[in-house]
Amino acid sequence: MTWWLSAIVLFGVLTALFLVGLPAAFAFFGINIVGAWFYLGKEAGLVQLIRNGIVSITSFSLTPIPFFILMGEVLFHTGVAMKAIDAIDRVIWRVPGRLSVVAVVAGTVFSAISGSTIATTALLGSLLLPQMLRRGYHPNMAMGPIMAIGGVDMLIPPSALTVLLGSLAGISISQLLIAGIVPGVLLSLMFIGWIVLRALADPSLAPSFEHEEMPLWERLKPLILYVMPLALIFVVVVAAMAAGWATPTEAAAIGAVATVAVAWIYRALTLSNLMKALMGTAGISAIILFIIIGATTFAQILTFSGATNGMVEAVRDAGFGPWTVLIAMLLVLLLLGCFVDQVSMMLISLPFFMPLVALYGFDPVWFGVLFLICMQLGLLTPPFGMLLFTMKSVAPKEIAMRQVWHAVTPYVVMGLGALIAVMLFPPLATWLPKLLFK
């Protein structure tokens, strides 16, 4: 079989399995069973398939994933997250579009603590959205920022998906985690700028309301009490990795234990909510890891079938310039992002992309950040952006999916802007890791 025929058959069957609604992990299991039979030597191939799958997730580079997720889960289930939002709500006043700005700032703070984008969106959506709508905010003004900032969660460490990308693509995990900070914060600032401008241009979008008068100390106290310790955890986790005191796994474990300790100090920790947080953690981690068990061998089968080499050679022989190839890869990612989940996106594309990254000599950390921004946009782009569904599920019944799409559009445009900016000015991604990892 020629390489392109193998590629078409493998991807064709995989797509069909996805479309009939088989869970993503099982779709990969299915195609791998077929592929292993033909390319890895029948029965021996099937035995190998299972061995590979288990060995692939028995990896120290993946152990930060559950710990990063645990940090966020503990905050959500103990209610500490709610206290932090209230605190942020108190210190932001007299800003046009105040509650939308609160959503972005609170979302950014959570990004710095939680490793899970969906949890962030669900929490902010269920907490702030009803309040905004009650205050007469336009639904676009209310829903857009919450979804947008949920996506940014992926860029700002700790982030489970960044760990996964680094691990699967062979990019330094610590450097990649830190490289996301500048673009992530930049996006948050762009969102705030946009909200303020929109609210100034048309105050009816976000009616201002009287905020109760209180002394400055009263305003700042909750911030110091409930947000500063969380910020401190973030600094410790990032600093421990950057200074080389701890591996990403160790930094993540310390962060998780510190978060539990903070919840305990606030007297917010009970055995029952700790168990809920742990169950949530195990669930989210296992969903990710189960897809990896399924998909690792997929890359191997693609190699054995000749599809990977064939594709890479075809691109090389076609004599495309590096920019053409880079832009083509990003377009493929944006397109994939509209249809499949983030983990599957990585597993489908990386076997082809990383050889091309090596061939063209792209900086892997820079490429990794571009990849992350594409995945973040994938969370927000119709028809199947995960955060759109998350928002729809927490929004009032009368809000239609079309309105959710409409609300997120400006933020998708800003995300594309950030993608182009990082593409044209690589230091946006590479400056901070270079500075910290001399």
Partner: protein
């Protein structure tokens, strides 16, 4: 709760507790190393093994609660009857896939145990221990798909 659901939930809870214990152990190791109490050599290795163990323990519970990521685009756009046919197709495919994993998982375990392969890092363990949960997990997953098929 029915015994079946209780079983799945208990396995899931075991996975949750395992991951929590790992966070504590890894932290303890870092602290001990930095205050000069030496290091717990096996922690890194055990935390690696905990990933597949936790995943296999909780996977059936996740399927039971329909939490595995899936694309339901076709399902929601089809008529109720066509969607039902599609769902059943999925369940049958699921059972077939699980059967392959159970069968070849057992083969893998038997082969590995027969040769006596060991994984030697800090700890030395028989290789087949790593795969012991595979047939258990996929049998439960198959039961879950079969249960859906009958609904």
């Amino acid at each position: 709760m029915k015994p079946y659901a209780l079983l799945l939930r208990s396995l899931a809870a075991a996975a949750a507790v395992l991951l929590g214990a790992m966070a504590v152990l890894v932290t303890l190791d870092v602290v001990m190393r930095n205050v000069g109490l030496g290091t717990i050599a096996w922690v890194n290795e055990v935390s690696e093994y905990s990933l597949p163990v936790a995943t296999l323990l909780i996977a059936p519970w996740l399927l039971h609660r329909n939490e595995h990521v899936r694309l339901d685009v076709l399902l929601v756009s089809l008529s109720a009857r066509a969607a039902r046919v599609l769902e059943k197709t999925c369940d049958v495919l699921g059972i077939a896939i699980c059967a392959v994993f159970v069968w070849y998982g057992i083969r893998l375990i038997l082969d590995s145990a027969r040769i006596g392969s060991m994984v030697v890092k800090t700890l030395a363990i028989p290789e087949w221990w790593q795969y012991a949960l595979v047939p258990v997990c996929f049998s439960l997953l198959a039961v879950e798909f079969a249960r859906r098929l009958r609904e």
